[in-house]
Amino acid sequence: MAPLLEIKGLKTHFATDDGMLQAVDGVDIVLNKGETLCVVGESGCGKTVTAMSILKLIAMPPGRIVEGQIIFEGRDLVPLSSSDLDDIRAKEIGFIFQEPMTSLNPVLSVGEQIAESLRRHEGLSRKDALARTVEMLKLVQIPNAEGRVHDYPHQFSGGMRQRVMIAMALACKPKLVIADEPTTALDVTIQAQILDLLQDMKERFGMAVMLITHAMGVVAETAQRVVVMYAGKVVEEADVDSLFESPRHPYTQGLIRSIPRIDLDSMHKTRLEAIGGTVPMLINPAPGCRFAPRCRHAFGLCSKQEPVLREVAPGHRMACHLGDTRGETR
């Protein structure tokens, strides 16, 4: 079966005063129909830029897709014009952002915003669009949806706004929903409501979900497959069970081990395994592995040659020289 979305060799760079910033530098991601894929990594690793590149939602200039293909349902989106992409947005691909206020229009009621998208993309009449909007607000558990459909975004709490965003992203029943840190600013109870809701909607509409997060707990609870990004590159990719059971890349191992856990008794008051240092600047990155300055296992080859993604177990790929038997013969 052909994948729903296939990102191939994507490079998105930004022109800055200090030089070319290689935010996304050769990323491959495959997303199958109906699948939940989590993209995880610390801030500045290129998660958002990858997601925004799909529908060219990044500022161009300074941003530019330098190389690569983004194949959605067999069609490359990279060469498309912004009006073609507008049609795909909402109807085929829904977006949910971390801060709902950036994508909700403050001077329009939430009902007008959702209904407008339904009329434009689905050709519904004013009356039908309103009815569908109320139905969507009910689905995302906004109490008294008929009454609240005419309220403005600022009249909702943070968690409710995020649910309104979900209603808007899903109104046209897209095949793919991209959620960029949709719960990062929210309390755990509200986070749990939103993640349950996304799961619920996914099952109801059979859509695929690309969930971007930096929280390993969220990944473990929602993902089927996981892509770990570091400094503009994919460093590991696996199904969720393998990733947590046997993380192969030193960065992934560090991410999993550095968090305190309430499910393990023995963790209490034992020292956390921090990863030293910070994510490097993505302008003129040093040759070799981008994780090398922070890696405990780094050896001679790491600062000379860049590791490429290779399969280490069925469906499990990672980019690290460790245990690479091919490297020894080179």
């Binding site: 109870t189 749990a192 929280a215 990944v219 008794d265 209490h268 008051k269 921090a274």
Partner: protein, 322 residues
Amino acid sequence: MSEPLLRVTGLKKHFSVKGGLLSREVGRVHAVDGVSFAVNRGETLGLVGESGCGKSTAARCVLRLLEPSEGKIVFDGHDVLGLSGGDLRAMRRNMQIVFQDPFASLNPRMTVGAILGEAFTIHELASSASEREDRVASLLVKVGLKAEHMRRYPHEFSGGQRQRIVIARALAVEPKFIVCDEPVSALDVSIQAQVINLLEDLQADLNLTYLFVAHDLSVVEHISDHVAVMYLGRIVELASARDLYRHPRHPYTQALLSAVPVPDPKVKRKRIRLQGDVPSPMNPPRGCHFHTRCPIAEARCRESAPELKQGSDGHFVACHLA
């Protein structure tokens, strides 16, 4: 056990909300509504709860960065609310705060050396410029930075390094007690671990006492000896970290803990779903503040507020049914 370093009793802080043409009081936010707790010397008390429940307000009242409306605060044998002028300043030296946002809390126009040196000058802790420089250098080393960093400006540091500078500034005056208000919330997980380890090392070396405010329940369990859970201005449960996380007794604590995502896909936990959002603290529900969302509420919960009562094992809980 010796007397706790800090004992807070019946603390209240109400903010008046003004509106209309004449700016008359239209309501009151009961941000902190009768809170009592104690922190033992050399220990950490964690304070958790959803956004807006009053954690920061309570913490700021303890330091008198906000004037409490009511209550009693005893720190190291002194009645904090009775102090003023020089006595209050002297007391403040012993109580410092580290905020969430290391970007906002450092003056961008001052070098790190000047920022740290200022604390010594205010409290007259260094007699000469060279002594001040020596102390700044040793502080920087203590928080895992380098002496030469004193000549740099805050923007030249990463988020985690800036938080180390903020911690160094708090340590400059050799306090006994530090309020950490979401000190790692703005940091990436790997950096979070670095800063948590630093706070733990400093506590062990300097016998510091912490009040640690955060909404990340995993981080709070890791760092705290005792944990207090707040809901709408009140403490609903307080116990040793281990006891509270293993055997939560209050329905709110149980729901909160069940919502924490665990980084192990094999662990399938039963989630207690709470309905609705936290009610407005301007109009908190009558009786038990939690009754509008409590899955086991009864008629009496709507009438009378449960008191925070201590069980035989030292575990405090405020619920009619616990």
